[in-house]
Symmetry: C2
Subunit: 593 residues, 2 copies
């Protein structure tokens, strides 16, 4: 059973991702390490003791649509109410609406642990938090005062309604329509698909944020508006009024995250009364809906990255436990009695260490991204701009690398379990099934790569990414200067990997500048992985260099060395793919016709 | 819907894997290319038109245990009977028992297509064929005359009962027990798990081959005997007699291949009569059961490799079809109206071409392995020994590379489908679920790597593998000599990749010779993948060089170039992992404690 790695998480936040330094500098006001530890400890306890025990059962039973309402798995409603009773829903929300305004770093760390317990369950508040953010930034004071307090407390949950059957990644073509009413409200008509937690029995009301198009809107992405559309209208005194004209038509039958209802939502077909049209309230300006959405999209992408980290951690724990128990054959050098635990076989140890390194690397990248988000929020002026760029750059890497790691690590976890891994009751297969959606939703990892190469690399005309790479060089210099034997060839190998990253970066910046978009995009995914691999090793090195006094420094150095000498060598092939791969890709394209 | 790629398969058999040359030399007697084409065409028609349409429904419904018998999915029993009516079950079986004694190459090609239609369904005859092979090689004349004709025709099916809860990869510790009876028969007692198609409603009788231990057997693998244990005893006139003392206790709830019942079998608990013990007949000599099993294990491993190829092909077809239909965004260079089909996005094209290259490469490796099996069977003396070594060398590579490709390609297929890939009705997720068992059963891919490095490389003191690598050099020389511009940098890149393979091979041979087993095994999996990648590119090159006159040569050259310039560069990292990775792996091992 999953046990939240609170110490490792706290170490990574403080000593790898920058939290300790930020606290020392007073960037987060009164916040001290003691409070950080207390929050992480309690979030971890909740994840291990409350969420994780209901994860497998929730997967087996799944969410079900019964007579128009969604029944969640047994025990999940109580779980949710225990969770909001702990105040967890408002961790980063503004104090004005009952939140605690704590750094985003703490939030992603806690989210990781809840997702490890059950990704399907932890998805529910993830959506609410996104809705809170969009509403807080773009809603009118009236909307905020009516909805935000209850959404921050968790009494009501929120959703995001973007996708339609023909509008997935490309929202410009969506068809859901909004009509203006004389009283300043709108009526919404249309169908939305893939709406996560679009209907359920956790809360009395559900606050949908819906993208739709006004009759006179310009075509494409510049004609999309954002509306708040509650399941139940709210009376002047805050009590619930009439049922709004929307409902969940059906649930998807998915590969994984079975406990999470994925809904097709119908707006405005008149099911609950004579007058058709779901009552909606404009959020932000007309035709500026996509901009409103984008303000929350970066954080949503990081949140999905955390799901990758979370699954990787849980799958690694399970695989290590199994490999220590299960005995088969005799590993080389095994001197014990009878068969050796399979963890003694070098190939199994390699799988487990690969899982560890990818998990810890993804975690560090994601936390570093959250750190940048925090610094952009708390800092000012030029410093804030710097951190804004850093979070922009890291977001697609954190999302894609961590979610790919989630799938790869979960798949390795199945493999370590052998035949038992294919049996559902073991639980290893669930991690693979759950993990598989994360590289797809909130922008596929291919779309993240396009974003990274075409929008993030050119930030400050390439100066930001170059500055970041220079920072990475400082880490390898520190490794070399440390003279610690345990690092082995780490410094030399990381220097070579950084050189690959530099080469690929320069090539891409030049290709983008020269308008060679097809050539740049041909290697975008390879570049994204290259960046993630380098960061994995760099952050592992940073962890190895940190003197945390917890007796684990040698282990961290050994894991870093394993990554440097066994995983990172892939960077030269990736660099080659970026800088030399486009031509043969284009030449082979016609094969597919 | 899957359409068997009969032309591509025939091309690969004839011009890449060696069938045309072998036919020209008369190695297969009367067999001509016309007959090959006719057989492949009909096997492909059956796969596309009969098997594939029942694949998804079979997955959804799954096999069910109802009152002690297993109900197979609707339509599958008729499908099986149509299939055996076509004579497919006895394709490679001896003519003396009603088989057609055709080359194994044809068999694996046909198996590939049926597995593409439904891996869960095609598993059923796979097991029977293994049982036929073991029985034919090691059974007494009486046993053979009673059982083989009906097993060859498919009237009765066969199973293999190896695994027990504590005896998976390591069969030496199995506990099922056999007692001698005065009449020369045996009584079997014990429990077997993970028995594929151990019980079902396809046939009136089921012939179980069961590994068990005699009371006076030596411990370990030298004390295991093989028994034939029919579900129903057979009377002197060939009619079915009493129910034997065995039954299916339960079915596993699995990640994939839901249509295939995976049974826990109980032998000898007296359920059907007063006298306990399942009647078994010795196959081969007492205590030599494992040797009997091994005779069929190589072919079973290749058969599982074919499942990887099959899933990769089916997943690739589905993804290409979707990517042509689905429109999102505007790809660079897209001049059509509205959104472009996603296949126009470079990243999607890259995924699809990677899928194509891995599929075609795995197929060629597997067919080349089958060719070696055939040549070892039909040739004599030194030549037979040569081909025996070749099939031994290629088997672990074919099994592991193709099954890893099956998972990787199916996962890419899900990714190409975006959100739809996560929805079960789409069918892309089924391929991933089904594919995930293949790297595990019939010896995990880690065990294949141990076999490759410790038993196959040392064949003829390393001369065989060195000779094989020299053959690969001839292909790159021919590419260079061809002067075809379409090959791009293929020759130089493949030469570099072969050098990586040579370096890793020499290092491993030396490590094995010096008794550095742990060091060799630390890189065994990386080496196995390195070998498979090189073979993929070499066989694609061989295909590109072949003048088949089918108008597809340029496409084959382009795919080869894509593999050479985009996939093969990974070999240097793999070589590095083999020759330099062991130390940091050993140093990090204690992290896992």
């Amino acid at each position: 059973m999953y046990k939240a790695p609170v110490d490792e998480i706290a170490f990574t936040l403080k000593h790898v991702a920058g939290l300790a330094e930020a606290i020392d500098r007073g960037a987060f006001g009164e916040l001290g390490e003691d409070l950080v530890d207390a929050i992480l400890g309690e979030a971890g306890r909740f994840a291990s003791e409350e969420v994780a025990p209901l994860g497998d059962a929730g997967d087996r039973r799944g969410a079900r649509l019964v007579g128009g309402t969604v029944e969640t798995p047994e025990g999940w409603r109580d779980l949710y109410h225990n969770w909001i009773a702990g105040g967890w829903n408002g961790l980063t929300a503004p104090e004005a609406y009952g939140g605690q305004n704590l750094p985003h770093m703490l939030h992603v760390a806690a989210m990781e642990m809840w997702n490890s317990g059950s990704m399907a369950f932890a998805l529910a508040p993830t959506l609410t938090m996104g809705a809170i953010e969009a509403l807080e930034k773009h809603g009118t004071e009236v909307l905020k005062s009516v909805f935000l307090p209850k959404m921050v407390s968790g009494e009501w949950m929120g959703t995001m309604n973007l996708t339609e059957p023909h509008a997935g990644s490309d929202l410009g073509v969506l068809k859901t329509r909004a009509e203006r009413c004389d009283d300043g409200t709108y009526r919404i008509f249309g169908q939305k698909i893939f709406i996560t937690w679009g209907e359920h029995d956790f809360t009395d009301n559900i606050v949908h944020l819906v993208l739709a198009r006004l009759p006179d809107a310009p075509p494409g992405t510049k004609g999309i508006s954002l509306f708040l559309v509650p399941k139940f209208l709210v009376n002047g005194d805050g009590s619930l009024g009439a049922r709004n004209d929307l409902f969940c038509h059906s649930l998807e039958h998915k590969l994984g995250i079975h406990g999470s209802p994925t809904c097709t939502m119908i707006y405005g077909d008149g099911r609950f009364g004579a007058e058709k049209g779901a009552v909606g309230y404009l959020v932000g300006e007309e035709n500026r809906g996509l901009a409103c959405m984008f303000t929350m999209m970066n954080n949503a992408r990081l949140a999905v990255g955390m799901q990758g980290v979370a699954i990787a951690e849980a799958a690694t724990q399970k695989a290590i436990a199994y490999a220590k128990e299960r005995r088969q054959g005799r590993a080389p050098g095994w001197s014990g009695e009878g068969m050796s635990p399979i963890i003694e076989h070098p190939d199994v140890a390699r799988m487990l260490l690969t899982m560890k390194a990818l998990t810890q690397g993804s975690r560090a990248i994601a936390y570093a991204c959250a750190h940048a988000v925090d610094m952009a929020h708390f800092a000012e002026g030029e410093e804030a701009r710097h951190w804004q760029e850093r979070s922009s750059l890291l977001t697609p890497i954190a999302k894609s690398f961590a979610t790919d790691a989630g799938v790869d690590v979960a798949s390795l976890g199945v493999q370590v379990h052998g035949g038992m891994g294919f049996i559902e009751e073991t639980g290893a297969a669930r991690y693979l099934r759950d993990a598989r959606i994360a590289p797809i939703y909130e922008g596929t990892n291919g779309i993240q790569a396009i974003d990274l190469v075409t929008r993030k690399l050119p930030l400050s005309d390439g100066a930001h990414v170059r500055g970041f790479i220079a920072e990475l060089r400082e880490v390898t210099a520190a490794v070399a200067a440390s003279n610690r034997k345990g690092f082995g060839e780490t410094a030399a190998r990381l220097d070579a990997a950084i050189a690959d990253l530099e080469g690929a970066t320069a090539w891409l910046l030049s290709a983008i500048r020269d308008g060679k978009l097809a050539e740049a995009l041909a290697g975008a995914t390879a570049y994204q992985r290259l960046f993630g691999l380098v960061l994995t090793a760099i952050y592992l090195a940073k962890g190895g260099l940190a003197e945390a006094g917890d007796g684990k420094q040698e282990q961290r150095i050994a894991l870093c060395r394993f990554a440097a000498e066994n995983l990172v060598s892939e960077t030269s092939a990736l660099e080659d793919r970026v800088t030399n791969g486009a031509e043969s890709l284009a030449a082979a394209r016609s094969i597919l016709d």
